[in-house]
Amino acid sequence: MSERDGSRATGQTAPAPGAGGGAAGAGRARHMRPSLALLRKDLLLERRAPESVPAMLLFSLTAFVLFHFGLDRDTLSGSLAAGVLLVTLLLAALLGVNRLFVSEYEEGGFDGVLLAPIDRTALLVAKAAALFLFLVLVEVVAVPAFGLLLLGPSLWPALPGLIGVLALLDLALAAVGPLVSALAIHTRARDLIVPIVALPLLVPALIGAARAAAPLLAAGGAGGAPAKWLAVLALYDLVFGLLAFAVFDFLLED
């Protein structure tokens, strides 16, 4: 067969079995390189034509203003403060989840990725990482804004514990978000499917995060986040992370 040797002609980097860290290292590299390429592309697209982060941030700030007037209270604390903050961030995250695969779907990125000799879970890892980073960016502005607009007790004592709770919640959203987005992207009612599917799945994560955050935002000084609820959140992240790895491939089948 007169097949051309593509790797030599194009300078394709051949994998080096047994080199460096051995099989495990080669396996990690096989997953990480395409994931990083996809993540870098997503971040570049968001920087070039900002869509998700500004929308999520604007939604969060607007929701805080609405809560401020709608609840007719100057300050919130404890479980009410935790509920307002976390539900707002969760709903804002859905805007990002909705947009997660739009560029892939509308500009042929799915085909581009499926034609490449890479593991499809690289796409899951990249999208989860992108959503996580978008959420962190939004929270860097939205959480201090929440402290100024709504929170009664000072935000600063609660901040270290709150960062831990938000990180675990963001991981939950990053695990569930790409799954739901990939499921919804091929449907005409994408905007409806995402909240309908994602919100019930995220109820346990929200309960865990709210219970963990409530003592942190309590009046009269921040208590510690209950370890039990942090463990529930971490377990949720683990289970849905594994679930996402198990089923993501099937969502990309034609």
Binding site: M1, Q12, A37, L38, K41, L44, E107, G108, D111, A116
Partner: protein, 229 residues
Amino acid sequence: MDEAPPAIELRGLARRFGERWALADVSLSVPAGATLVVFGPNGAGKSTLLRVLATLLRPHAGEARVLGEPLPAGDWAVRGRVGLLGHDALLYRDLSARENLVFHARLHRVEPARVERLLGETRLGARADDPVRTLSRGLLQRVAVCRAVLHDPPLLLLDEPRANLDPAAAALIEPLIGRASGRTRVITSHDPAGGLAEADLALGLRDGRVALLAPASEIGHDAIEELYR
């Protein structure tokens, strides 16, 4: 005698969308290095055939072997050895031509120098850093050709590859996707003269079924035109 296995071998291949069969009972063999041109009216199944060969669609019946690998079991081995140039450019509109090609080069583990070489060969250098949404259809097609051949695939699947290209641009991409490239090619076309001139084999599809299959040298233009009546 040449014992090389065919680059493409289909036996009773079928693919449906819902209840409608887009391809039915397609059987053919394309030797390595040969060119198959596919004719047929809109909706005849040409693009579906290319997408099945590219592993983007699974066959629903029959057997398909591409580059020696059975589909869909051997999808993994075929990916990365196929260059698809479809109706969609598979490029991100807000990224530049260079950024798009570098992104695909990373996915295919191709050295960045290859990107620069292709941009030079297709004379895209001056517009390489402009977002592709600002490029004309012809320039966009040139970038799409660069993407399709970036990893130097042995099999090219080309859906009307010279659409939107002026004669000078068509000449520019000829070394990359033309017969001189030495690759096995499957080309869809609506141009009997041009299609037959560069093909070894011609396939005519109508309603997803094979209406014509013969060496290109044995087929007249009138047989192709009959497909469209």
